[in-house]
Amino acid sequence: MGFAKAGQRPAEAGDTAEETAMDLPALIRGLRDPEADMRRRCAKDLVSYPEAVHALAATLDIERVQNVREMVMTTLALIGTPEAVAVLLPCLRSDDAFLRNEAIEVLKQLPNSLAPMMEQLLKDQDPDVRIFAVNVLESLRHPSVVQWLLNVVESDPHVNVVATALDLLSEVGDENCIESLLKAQERFANEPYLQFAVRTALDRIEQSKEST
């Protein structure tokens, strides 16, 4: 025993026998297979079929095995089409914490697909959805990012949403933001957390003014 020499090893290590490529209908059926490993494999192989996004989304409602759910999410992220984004968005409102948090992680990888709906997301009824939208702005390259953040800072009613926007403004804001920051400071005069966030953003902006 000891080391098996390179080049002299039996060939069982890889995915051999199971690897007959499955077509789209077979893969979609496979999402309901009694074996979790098979369901996971089908979810993985569906990455080549953008038309499968609805079948994948449907699976999320009933799949209970975590590693299969993660794979479905990864596949949707890789497909990354506007349809994929559309099926992921409702997950943001799900009662299922795992779905919510996974959807957030995955959608953050697709900032450009979210840009067209950004204004809508920033006005969503649910403050957690608005926080998510602000978080997506972190990776979004778009001329309106700073303005959107300023809109939130000036008019969002929820302290946690405003604070998230302030966090990002400390990184991307400039002197033109100062007025809006001061307005937020007034609006939430009784919120120590927010006062803290405004002060931090102001400090950072002041400092970067000096280093230019």
Binding site: F3, A4, K5, A6, G7, R9, A13, D15, L78, E171
Partner: protein, 280 residues
């Protein structure tokens, strides 16, 4: 706040950069690393001809190719490879992980260990040496060592098994003498038996056609590779490792890396020597 500031990098610049870098890579620079960080930031600013930190930072954050971020990660992380680097993982392998793996196997069973990236071979060969030197049960099992890299030239070099003084510097002398022959140019040649214990292959971790050949692994070493990946590629890699491992199999990441930023697929296991991740 800080005692010395490099020209052009204020305390707040450093904070901004530090938070951003931590968010992207999980690597945290504490205040003592200020000089290290500032120097490299200034280098990158000069390379991009940015006239201020703010201008540089804007490029860094919003560049769609992510090229500058890659460059920055490269200069901020130490890329050296040498034998017995991060040795605590090998100690953990001998004292904690292999005993647990072996307890579920019968004599004569296969134990499969995968090292990726292999780079110029120091890591897989370190494993081979460690197993011969320190694992009493090596004879009871059939151990398959696999090593992969995306770079075919480095794979060729690795297969030759010839190393510099610097590369073997961390190995105790009596071990070096046992496994290497020094030639007249001062280069160290690894003995043929140890070399033949490792099977090398070219693998792109993001390509499932490549990774599906790896299954039923008991132990994976993937150290200081995932830092250089973006979030989606890290996820794909984590999935590939999950599929590659046997249930109960382990994966070791580099000392500043954590699976907690990447995927919830694995369980965290704390051993006396190291924190590693296990497939449930």
């Amino acid at each position: 706040m800080a005692v010395t500031e490099t020209k052009g990098i204020t305390d707040d610049d450093f904070q901004k950069f530090r938070e951003f870098f931590y968010r992207k890579t999980g690597i945290h620079f504490d205040d003592s690393k200020r000089y290290f960080v500032d120097k490299r930031l200034v280098e990158r600013m000069q390379a991009l001809k940015s006239d201020s930190f703010r201008a540089y930072f804007t490029t860094l954050r919003f560049q769609t190719t992510g090229e500058e971020l890659q460059q920055l990660i490269n200069v901020m992380t130490v890329n050296e490879t040498y034998f017995f680097r991060e040795e605590y993982h090998f100690a953990c392998m001998i004292s904690s992980m292999l005993p647990e793996i072996a307890s579920k196997k019968r004599p004569g069973d296969t134990i499969r260990i995968w090292s990726i990236p292999s780079s110029s071979g120091e890591e897989p060969y370190s494993i081979a040496i460690y197993l011969q030197e320190y694992w009493n049960d090596l004879d009871k099992f059939s151990v398959e060592l696999m090593a992969s890299d995306i770079d075919t030239m480095i794979l060729e070099q690795a297969q030759k098994g010839v190393f510099s003084e610097r590369s073997v510097g961390n190995i105790p002398a009596h071990v070096t003498n046992k496994y290497f022959r020094k030639d007249k140019n001062g280069m160290y040649h690894l003995d043929p038996d140890t070399r033949s214990a490792v099977e090398f292959s070219r693998v792109n971790l993001s390509d499932s056609a490549d990774t599906r050949k790896f299954r039923k692994c008991d132990l994976i070493f993937c150290r200081n590779l995932l830092i250089y990946f973006d979030d989606v590629s890290r996820r794909i890699a984590a999935e590939a490792f999950f599929d590659a491992l046997n249930p109960g199999g382990f994966i070791c990441l580099g000392h500043s890396e954590s699976m907690s930023r990447i995927s919830g697929l694995f369980k965290v296991r704390k051993f006396p020597e190291a924190i590693v991740y296990q497939k449930p």
